[in-house]
Amino acid sequence: MNFDLSQEQKMLVDSIQKFLKNDYSFETRCKLANSSLGFSEENWKLFAELGWLGVALGSDYGGFGGSTEDIMLMHEALGRALVTEPILPTALLCGRLIELLGTEAQKKSLLPSLIQGELQLALAYNEAIARNNPAVVGCVAQREGDNYVISGKKIGVLNGHAASQLLVTARTAGDVRASAGISVFLVDAYAAGVERKPYQTVDGLRAAEIEFNGVEVTAAQRLGAEGDAFVALETVLDEACLALCAEAVGAMEVLYKTTIEYCKTRKQFGVPIGKFQALQFRMVDMFMLHEQAKSMIYQAALRAKDISTKEGRAKAREAISACKVYIGKAGRRIGQEAIQLHGGMGMTDELNVGHYFKRLTAIDALFGNVDYHLHRYDECVTASREIA
């Protein structure tokens, strides 16, 4: 195993870091987060030019065909600056789902424009009854001749406010909790019957609740075979989950280092508070949690390499769930400690600490929290124990 970055990886990470350093200060980020769109269209174009939107996507459509390690490194870097541009919802969730399920024609019509920065997408999969479980789909797509009629409600749709097209999971067969019978449709976000309620999230991003009230789509808008979308759906959610974990690791790094710097300068009782051993040990634990969290994303990146194959998928699910569990706990702990060690300053909106804390808090809730992934991890290890 070699953890040194390759020349290409160094270039990718360097270019991201350079951009973030020069053009993505904390103040800029706050302005973007509070702007009407919540991110910068200009940045989006730039990301496209720099190739970042295509890192996870195949070279046939103008992508970079990157490895799990590349995606991980990129999102770790983005996480350091709390980037709000929706790379994850558009490129990782939707781009990859189109790549896995779409026909050649669908891929050709969508992926190049995505990679060139001309398309905003969102994946509407989660529902109130599902609590992040992608197999639980109450939303239905009723076949009517050559068309389908979609009805149901999706929650927490990342980038749901900006997307012009939505990928929607809907049931074409089976029981509400069955993984078989789920189909994915490409739905125009402005189509009749689509009702979006966009909102700002505590971590400065955007999402939406979206209702589908008898929205009519053609069979050509279906991605992949009818009722057979689950494996691809879960795969992209897992890939995105790993990227999200990497983002969290980037955020953790900034948070623990910021805390150390603060404790070196803030004086009480005539000394820098970092001289108090009670605080030193807590910072050492923050430092170790970050290193371990980083090891965990490497673990997941290694074991998720063959996620698209039948054999590789079981291993990848187990590894990614383990990773999300660790990240969820470490993120919570580092975030809470960072605020405590900053004292009253930690409670202010002005300081970046609270913003990193909120992002880490949000990350735990996305794609299944610690408990969700502990449950899934348990299913995975139990299954492999039974095979063995």
Binding site: N2, F3, S6, K264, G274, S295, Q299, L302
Partner: protein
């Protein structure tokens, strides 16, 4: 970054496996299996050391010219992992891992020629005389005094917690040779023969009812100056070199996984309180899974360290973390094991766990070692620089606090 594993290593792993399969007798494996401490049964450890010595595999971390294997860091880890999996008795570390490297780093040619082969062959069994009743974490405050007397030193003082002093024929000591200098500047590194007149060894019985440690009294013990490693008053440098040598050398994850596998095995055999085996109990399984995930994180931190070492980098901070994480996780593993064996953790049967004892015992065999291990493992966060001291080191040297 390429996280795949090179094929050469798979082949090496096979070679190690087949050597272990051919050479580890049941008797030796029993010692590994029943071990409840990092210090394994002396007789069987030494027997296994002789076999490894013959093969040339006894000191993987020594430079090749002194009898090392020439393996890289990954090969060394593979050897350690496979040895553990096969329940090989562990080598007693004081000579091979502690004193030996000091002699290699600071000994004269004559000292190297004399001592190193005897360490490799097991002819000498070493113990470590650092700690004193008044000097634990603050080791530099040690008081055992070596007065100069012609070509000799006359040593007076007390060493404590000296593991295996009752088996050892040699002890390496830190002693004070200058009372006026700053504490670190007046310390000398001495090799002392345990049969010297004036040495008395008294047992300390551990929580687990077993004698591992001792108090060693020095009453006007005469030690030739030729037994000094490094210069007079320069012993602290030698001791620090040893710490550097040890750093990054040890991997915890393989032993942690092995311990966890035993817990799973126990939990699948023990009945749960509310139907089914214990392993079907949700509360228990949650703890098991959380622990496994935490071990996984350490496994990859250790992989990162190996990778850094392999490409000639100094893993620095990462390496000093593993002591804290590895020992704290080992305490969680052994804690879960006593929870798993339940009431069978309670019978006191110290004699029955001695390898070769063949005595009858209460309860299933898998429960025998759980409690002694739990008790013994409490020490891991105290010795080798307590975890509080380690956190202090990271705070100071890594975080700059």
């Amino acid at each position: 970054m390429d996280l795949s594993i090179k094929p050469e290593y798979l082949q090496f792993r096979e070679e190690v496996r087949s050597f272990l399969a051919q050479n580890l007798t049941d008797d030796l494996r029993e010692a590994g299996r029943l071990a409840t401490s990092v210090f394994h049964d002396v007789e069987r450890s030494m027997a296994w050391q002789k076999i490894l010595h013959k093969k040339g595999w006894v000191a993987p971390n020594w430079p090749k010219q002194y009898g090392g294997t020439g393996w890289d860091v990954v090969q060394r880890a593979i050897f350690a992992e496979e040895s553990m999996k096969a329940s090989a008795p562990a080598m007693i570390p004081m000579g091979l891992l502690m004193c030996g490297p000091c002699i290699i780093g600071y000994g004269t040619q004559a000292q190297k020629d004399y001592y190193l082969p005897r360490i490799l062959s097991g002819e000498d069994l070493w113990c470590q005389g650092y700690s004193e009743p008044g000097s634990g974490s603050d080791l530099a405050s040690l008081q055992t005094f070596a007065a100069s007397d012609g070509d000799d030193y006359i040593v007076n003082g007390t060493k404590i917690w000296t593991t295996y002093a009752h088996f050892a024929n040699k002890i390496f000591c830190l002693v004070r040779t200058d009372k006026e200098a700053k504490p670190q500047k007046g310390i000398t590194f001495l090799l002392i023969d345990m049969t010297s007149p004036g040495i008395k060894v008294e047992p300390i019985i551990g929580l687990d009812g077993i004698r591992e440690q001792n108090t060693v009294f020095f009453d006007n013990v005469r030690v030739p100056k030729a037994n000094r490693i490094g210069n007079e008053n320069d012993g602290w440098t030698v001791a620090k070199y040893l710490l550097m040598f040890e750093r990054g050398g040890q991997e915890y994850a393989p032993a942690l996984y092995a311990g966890l596998a035993q817990v799973k095995d126990i939990a699948s055999k023990e009945a749960g309180s509310f139907g089914g085996p214990l392993i079907a109990d949700t509360n228990f399984r949650r703890k098991l899974n959380e622990l496994e995930i935490d071990i996984m994180a350490l496994e990859f931190t250790e992989n990162r360290i190996k990778s850094a070492l392999g490409s000639g980098q100094n893993p620095g901070a990462l390496a000093s973390m593993t002591k804290i994480l590895g020992t704290e996780l080992s305490q969680r593993v052994t804690e879960l094991a006593i929870e798993a064996v339940g009431v069978y953790g309670l019978p006191l049967q110290t004699d029955a766990i001695q390898p070769g004892a063949g005595l009858p015992f209460v309860g299933p065999e898998y429960a025998l070692t759980a409690m002694p291990r739990y008790l013994n493992t409490r020490a891991t966060t105290i010795y080798g620089g307590s975890n509080e001291v380690q956190r202090g080191i990271i705070a100071k040297l890594v975080l700059g606090l």
